[in-house]
Amino acid sequence: MNNSTLPHYDVIVIGAGSIGAPAAFYLAQAGYKVLVLDSAPSVGQTSNKRAIGGIRATHSDPAKIRLSLRSIEIFSTWKERFGDDIEWSEGGYVFVARGEHEEKTLKNLLVTQKSFGLNIDWLDKQQLLQVVPDLNPAKIIGGTFSPQDGNASPLLAVHAFYSHAIEYGAVFQFNEKVQEIIVRGGKVVGVKTDRAEYGTDVVLNAAGAHASEIAQLAGLNVPVKPDSHEAAITEAVAPFLKPMIVDIQPGPGSSNYYFYQHLTGQIIFCITPSPNIWGFDTEETSSFLPMVAKRMVDLMPRLKNIRVRRTWRGLYPMTPDGAPIVGFAKEIEGYLYAVGMCGQGFMLGPGVGELTARLVSGQLYPTDQEILDILSPYRQFAGQELLK
């Protein structure tokens, strides 16, 4: 086949999700000719729609902090800049301490977080009850509060990136499965799918839980494997809860869990199973609802009367050290990773998407190098995230 006859794109993004859609938007905005391929029938249909929508900058490492701060800027100003309502709400995050152990963990983190200038503080029990009056006073001793974190609708946000990416000329092909990444002379030259073949200079792997398979199509190995988490949403009630509540104390069968009231009035919640449940299974189990319900009602008794509407299960594309993998492959020219978001793809998405556009153009910010070192595909993966 003669490559010159293939439709040619500057960048082919694999995956139209939390990372792929904003990446396509920023790449297209920067003037690149972009094609996005996804095997799902429309945007955000794999892991994005299963995310609950929390957005925080209050992480423990500078890469995620910087990327999320930028994401928050983008999410919070989206409506005024582009007009779409993505249901952004600056509700803040509260990490509750149920005992001294959690208090110590959270206060230790606070030092790092404050050193990056994050707006986060320790609140004692009384102060915390001012912010979240419905917490069970018998179950908490205090917690951290970061008022500038927030939440938005993953579905609406990814859809907004998608529709504006199209306005900038990006092309999205759905129901199309990538079968081969064509490499010639150590360089990416094209992508073959079950429907067509395209020429390109850059492939961006934004395939979420399937990142490892997509890497292997080019003979590359990337240490991403998914584990599954279950989530649910309730009916809508009048607003009564501002921040996202995170309880990091482990319970039987689970480590942390978190919930918040979305702008629509609905409570959305999710739990981290312990031990992790590895694999691609996204079918609901009977153990999730009773487990998470008991912990939530215990922490916030008012929730006992709210009615659960829907439940689902989604995948966290995990890396060995809990940090994402962003950067070009060394083995093949033009192969770019933005994978392993460890369940934070939605909140990191705009920041990472912008970063991939800078990586493609080579016009990096001075602060980018530190981020890229931390998120390097070639790092040791020895560390452990302090706060998931």
Partner: protein, 699 residues
């Protein structure tokens, strides 16, 4: 105060119930003990229960089945479904306007473990199919847990006041649905290995092969069955037309629930959309409850239901408009009129044919879909599962009784407790009972005009045989090998003794006797009649109609009587001129002016055709997305919120699929909603095993 209770009914007993006082918006009302808040409000003339949080449009009863969440009210501060929650003395009920305030809870809850159990067989649904299966399993001592979301067993049988069709031998044909329910319930009670949970709703079949159940409204149970039988019945399809979300537009099931279960009158003047059996029977039930039926529209050129059901309505004076459709339900915050139009061969309305009728309610009966999501999930997860009744295939309840019996046997065999083969003819009978109406022959009246002549106004092949066992001399014949054949009278004019058993016993009310013996020019015609005796007396003058509903003239009533051993069907004898005697098939029970169109048609401009009732998404919004290229319903959901509401896409899916069809999009191009639990919304505290609802305060 207006009274909307049914105080007299030709079939249903009116039970004595204690009055209970409660408050609606601070005003004191009287309810009856044991009734739902919805019925109590309807009985007091309240039909608007709240307003939608999105657009402030009025909300009321739609499904009356705990599925749709349109009837939310605040009962003592707690948001509840008015159709499911029983009214209590002194209760303060307020409309749910906008988003409800979540009640405060001031004390630390305590927890108990949720119920976790293994059973041999779990049956979802205690309707005709589930009950029949449970009886077969109970006979064999199999451990069965049967769950049903209603307060009593029987499923939709308990709403059916008419005599059933089908096979007398196989499925109680000739008996009224309500009585079949009681019989099945009694048969089941003899088997101690069957445990029954009423008022218990299945929430989900999970991938770990366990089934989550909201038990009796206040406990969460996780059941691990060896075998699952899904007998969860059907749900009603809905229709997109302007004003379709106005209070007063109901599904047929809701209407039958209010009228036949709760004995309240939700309408004075009803208009029916849909000429299948459900719509036709509901119309008949309305007439029996003293509700006027203004008319019925059917888009096809013939009604899809049994012709005898259709005729029953026509010969009581209900106009049936075939090749017609509803254009709009009109009114400010409740239905005041309906506008219909004739449709062409493409089913599109023909301009200039619009007509409007005054009415206060519109009943939608445009078909049923199986409630099969539990079955599909169970199959997907590899659970040993069976499906019966409407959940398997939409058909008559008689077919569901029989398929349930077969499923019971099949499960017993699967468990190794039954070794006998299932008779092959059972499957044949099952197919016959499920069959759609066959050929319709033109009515041939007997040529004889002497003696006594039975006239069988039954000209369509349907699975029904009770008449063949009614004649004292065995002279009504139906081919036993295939009960779908049309009955014939084998005798001559000397045979009949006028016992009138055929008149009173035909489930289709389709047999009359014409007795020429006393006066050949003014014979006596015996006509079946299922209305209260008070409505008709000897010497009344009545208008009689033929099978098609054409008026034949005014005649005098000789007597209104019940025959021995007959079950509530009366026989009316009239004197009629020879020329019309054999053609008489019924007595008009309607005021003629009720069925007259208004002198102008009511145009409905507002684009308020709702496809998603929960989130109030219009057909226009969804159509514009389809035109913009959307093919994944999940993406439509993202952008419009259609399907994101409380009901979980139970109503909107078929409407959206229909919009796709109208836009010329093939099914292959469309991705349907991902289906996720839970079946109905359930309080977090119940899932948590939290004790009690005490210490709840309101702001």
């Amino acid at each position: 105060m207006s009274d909307y209770r049914i105080r007299q009914h030709p079939i249903l007993p009116i039970p004595e119930r204690e009055p209970v006082e409660f408050y609606w918006r601070g005003k004191k009302y009287t309810a009856l003990a044991g009734e739902t808040i919805a019925s109590a409000l309807f009985a007091n003339g309240e039909r608007v229960f709240g307003h939608h949080h999105k657009d402030g449009s009025p909300l009321g009863i739609f499904c009356a089945n705990g599925q749709c969440s349109q009837c939310m009210v605040l009962a003592d501060g707690m948001p509840v479904k008015a159709c499911m929650e029983l009214v209590t003395a002194g209760q303060h009920v307020e409309p749910a306007d906008g988003l409800p305030e979540l009640p405060k809870v001031t004390s630390s809850p305590s927890f108990k473990p949720i119920i976790e159990r293994k059973v041999q067989v779990l049956i979802i649904g205690g309707g005709p199919s589930g009950l029949s299966a449970a009886i077969e399993l109970g006979k064999r001592g199999v451990e069965v847990l049967l769950v049903d979301d209603k307060h009593r067993l029987g499923g939709k049988l308990v709403l059916q006041t008419h005599r059933f069709f089908g096979s007398t031998k196989a499925v109680y044909a000739g008996t009224r649905g309500i009585d079949i329910a009681t019989r099945l319930e009694k048969d089941l009670s003899e088997h101690s290995s069957v445990e029954i949970w009423l008022n218990s709703t299945v929430l989900a079949v999970f991938s770990d092969k366990k089934v989550g159940i909201l038990k009796q409204g206040h406990d969460y149970a996780v059941i691990e069955p060896e075998v699952l039988l899904v007998a969860s019945g059907a749900r009603e399809k809905f229709l997109a037309f302007k004003g379709n979300a106005l209070p007063g537009v109901y599904g047929a099931g809701a209407f039958q629930t209010l009228v036949n279960r709760d004995l309240v009158r939700p309408a004075e003047k009803l208009f029916i959309v849909g000429g299948g059996n459900v719509g036709l029977i509901a119309g008949y039930h309305a007439l029996q409850a003293g509700i006027q039926v203004v008319g019925l529209v059917e888009a096809l050129s013939e009604c899809g239901g049994y012709k005898v059901h259709r005729d029953k309505l026509a010969r009581m004076g209900v106009p049936i408009y075939t090749s017609h459709t509803i254009l709009s339900a009109n009114g400010e915050d409740k239905v005041e009129s309906v506008t219909i139009a004739q449709v062409g061969p493409d089913y599109k309305p023909i301009p200039g044919t619009e007509k409007s009728f005054e009415c206060d309610s519109v009943l939608i009966a445009v078909g049923l879909d199986p409630v099969n999501e539990f079955y599909l999930k169970a199959k997907e997860y590899g659970l040993n599962c069976f499906v019966g009744g409407d959940a398997e295939e939409i058909a008559e309840a008689s077919a569901a009784i029989f398929s349930g019996k077969i499923r019971g046997m099949e499960i017993a065999r699967a468990l190794g407790v039954e070794t006998a083969e299932i008779p092959v003819e059972w499957y044949w009978t099952s197919e016959i009972l499920k069959s759609k109406p066959g050929t319709t022959y033109s009515e041939e009246l007997p040529e004889i005009e002497t003696g006594v002549v039975p006239v069988i106004h039954c000209t369509q092949e349907i699975p029904c045989d009770p008449c063949s066992g009614l004649c004292s001399h065995g002279l009504i014949y139906i081919d036993r090998r295939d009960i779908r054949s049309v009955p014939t009278f084998l005798g001559n004019s000397y045979c009949c003794e006028v016992c009138e058993k055929c008149v009173a016993g035909c489930p289709g009310l389709a047999i009359t006797l014409v007795n020429y013996r006393e006066n050949p020019d003014l014979p006596v015609v015996s006509i079946p009649y299922e209305f209260t005796r008070q409505t008709l007396q000897a010497n009344d003058r009545v208008s009689v109609l033929d099978t098609e509903g054409a008026e034949l003239g005014q005649v005098d009533v000789l007597s209104v009587h019940a025959i021995e051993n007959n079950d509530r069907t009366l026989v009316v004898e009239v004197n009629a001129p020879r020329e019309i005697a054999q053609r008489i098939a019924g007595i008009n029970v309607q005021d003629e002016e009720v069925t007259q169109p208004l002198d102008h048609y009511v145009a409905h401009i507002a684009d308020d055709t709702i496809v998603c009732r929960c989130e109030h998404v219009t057909a226009g919004e969804v159509r514009s997305l389809i035109r913009a290229g959307y093919r994944d319903m999940n993406e439509i959901k993202t952008v419009s919120r259609a399907g994101m509401g409380a009901c979980g896409g139970k109503t909107c899916v078929s409407l959206i699929l229909r919009l796709f069809r109208e836009e010329g999009i093939t099914r292959e191009e469309i991705t349907e909603y991902s289906k996720r639990p839970v079946f109905i919304e359930v309080p977090l505290g119940i899932l948590a095993g939290a004790n009690g609802q005490e210490n709840t305060t309101h702001e």
